[in-house]
Amino acid sequence: MDTTKPMTLGYDIRLELYRLQLDLRYCEKRAYDLFLQNLIKGTSHLSLGQEAIAAAFGVAMRPDDLTFCTYRGHAHTLARGASMEGVLGELMGRECGLLGGKGGSMHLTDVSKGAMGSYAIIGAHLPVAAGAAWSAQYRGSGQVTVCFFGDGTTNIGAFHEALNFAVIWKLPVIFVCENNLYMEYTPISSVTAVEHPAADRAGAYGLEKIVVDGNDADAVYRTAVQYLERARSGGGPALIECMTYRHSGHSRADPGQYRPPGELDRWLERDPLKIYRERLLGLGIVEATLNDLEAESMRKVDAATETAKASPAPAVSEIDKNVWADGSTAWRN
């Protein structure tokens, strides 16, 4: 691939990128509504405003590629093709949930789609992702592993160990830092020694510095294709920092009042869906096509919501299942 010129993207790819961003946005918004109705318990971390990244990778990845993500993982899981009712059902603690209600919002997983789990301890999934990439390399499967995490994650030890490990074994893994400027309530800049918490550290692992506009699905898609291809052909890992912003608070409990006035508004101007819709119109795609996509996405979310709402609570007997591979939880004979 000639990486000197920007890759030309066809209409089909572009429509797919829009469609997927819509799905992620509408489903996440629905999750928010369901909180307000108290149908979702526990906590929940939304990706509103950050959808371009998950969507671009979702479109760029091969179906058998592997995704690892965090508690803020609804979008990344959906982007691999997990069902909306599976996701919403899990958030609502229903039987139809991806994890039968056992995992909850922070642990969405759909192994059948290559969504290898959402991990809620900061940093832990980076070495796990490296391990999945090692396995792909060992088995010669050609799979690439993509591992998403936040800016705050770059200051924990596991980040460092995983990056070095992936490089020395030349593993087919892409580490994607979604820099949304904040950890929970604390700005990343106030606790990090460098400006770009991921990219400015790439050199420490012999990797190149890559910073991408994370609100521009095309930019993320081009970068994704380039490094997925490189990793797939044995060129080893990459560390990509995507600049973005979350529209809502860190989690359900957070109104986000620590953000300086005007900051959110400026970022809403750069809303990835807004940007992308305008771009498609500029490219001559007729508005009706977009309206159709939007309506179709909303129908899917509505249908999934109904399915999930209709699904019963998991049976209490499920508690005693699936610690072990034999399906049991027995620790004694």
């Binding site: 318990k41 526990g42 906590t43 603690g93 229903r94 949930g97 209600g101 056992k102 995992g103 909850g104 919002s105 922070m106 642990h107 991990y119 809620a120 301890i121 900061i122 940093g123 832990a124 705050g152 994650t153 200051n155 924990i156 030890g157 596991a158 950890m183 929970e184 309530y185 604390t186 106030s190 606790v191 990090t192 409990a253 620590y258 609570a313 998991p314 209490v316 499920e318 508690i319 005693d320 610690v323 939880t329 620790w331």
Partner: protein
């Protein structure tokens, strides 16, 4: 007497000690400007400022390492580990460094530090944010471990922990943060290593910790009222040092021991107490020792699943009815 919530009692305890001693400092993630993710440290940043209240990066090893280094050189740090589950990412600093430094150096290093952390289930957070891990700490020689059940104990035990010259882990049960209770006005300093007898009975002695104390009391009430079974309830409060004097005396009186533990079964504090009782007052026992614990599984997240996993009042009533006569 003021009525405070458990979470307000946390801030009150820390504030009391920070006012008294300039060398008390407090560090952790989002504890300062934001007042903590559980809002248990609201107001401290405003009162004590950024020199003494320090927001940190997501670097738990650095947080506890820094607390250790500061403690051995004259400060009295309080470090927050946001959820007790995250102790796993800095367990080396707790178990291998902080707990062992004094003994390994034959007393050259003393570590007056406190680690506070939010422990336990009930919030639908799933298996990585809901564990009761006080037993991890109890199993490590060299750290003291407390787990208060009431706002007054929270304030008093945090104060005692700060004044103690040794490292103390304070497990705050996150399901109790909204719980309200009377807290005496003025300076309050409790004592580590003291259990409390909250109710006297004749038929069995229930020993419980943190949230389970409340369930034990509720169950004891029902057992007495509806089934004529009269229970002593002991709130352990402090796992290390362990108040075996009180526990053994109370078990000996009723002849029966029931532990109620939020932790998964294996190697819980209840096992330790059971083994002490079965050794030292075996001849006072009138029947089997019962442990009521969360089953030995990770915690599920959906409402009905979580509620049916940790010991409920109903389960305690049922098991005691079945097993104590």
């Amino acid at each position: 007497m003021a009525e405070l919530t458990y979470r307000e009692a946390v801030a009150a305890g820390i504030a009391q000690e920070m006012r008294r001693d300039e060398n008390v400092v407090f560090l952790g993630e989002d504890i300062g400007a934001a007042g903590g993710v559980f809002k248990a440290t609201v107001g401290l940043f405003e009162e004590f400022g950024p020199r003494r209240i320090r927001d940190t990066p997501i670097s738990e090893q650095a947080i506890l390492g820094a607390a250790m280094g500061a403690a051995m050189t004259g400060l009295k740090p309080i470090a927050e580990i946001m959820f007790s589950d995250f102790l796993a990412v800095c367990w080396d600093i707790v178990a291998n460094e902080i707990a062992k430094a004094r003994y390994m150096t034959d007393g050259q290093i003393t570590l007056p530090l406190v680690i506070r952390t939010a422990n336990g289930a009930g919030s639908r957070f799933g298996a990585q944010h809901s564990q009761s891990v006080e037993n991890w700490a109890m199993a490590i020689p060299g750290i003291k471990v407390v787990a208060p059940a009431f706002p007054a104990d929270v304030k008093g035990l945090i104060a005692a922990a700060v004044r103690d010259p040794d490292p103390v882990l304070v497990f705050e049960q996150k399901s109790l943060y909204p719980f309200k209770g009377e807290v005496p006005d003025g300076e309050l300093v409790d004592q580590l290593g003291k259990a409390k007898v909250l109710r006297h009975g004749k038929d069995c002695t229930i020993v419980a910790l943190a949230l389970m104390v409340h369930r034990a009391l509720a169950a004891a009430e029902i057992l007495e009222r509806e089934h004529g079974i009269s229970c002593t309830v002991v709130d352990v409060r402090s796992l290390v040092p362990l108040d075996t004097v009180t526990i053994l005396a109370e078990v000996a009186k009723t002849g029966r021991l029931v532990t109620i533990e939020e932790n998964p079964r294996l190697c819980g504090w209840g096992a330790e107490i059971a083994s002490i009782v079965a050794d030292e007052i075996f001849w006072d026992l009138d029947g089997p020792i019962i442990r009521i614990t969360t089953p030995h599984i990770p915690l599920p997240s959906a409402d009905q699943l979580e509620d049916n996993t940790i010991p409920s009042v109903e389960r305690v009533v049922r098991e005691i009815r079945e097993k104590i006569d």
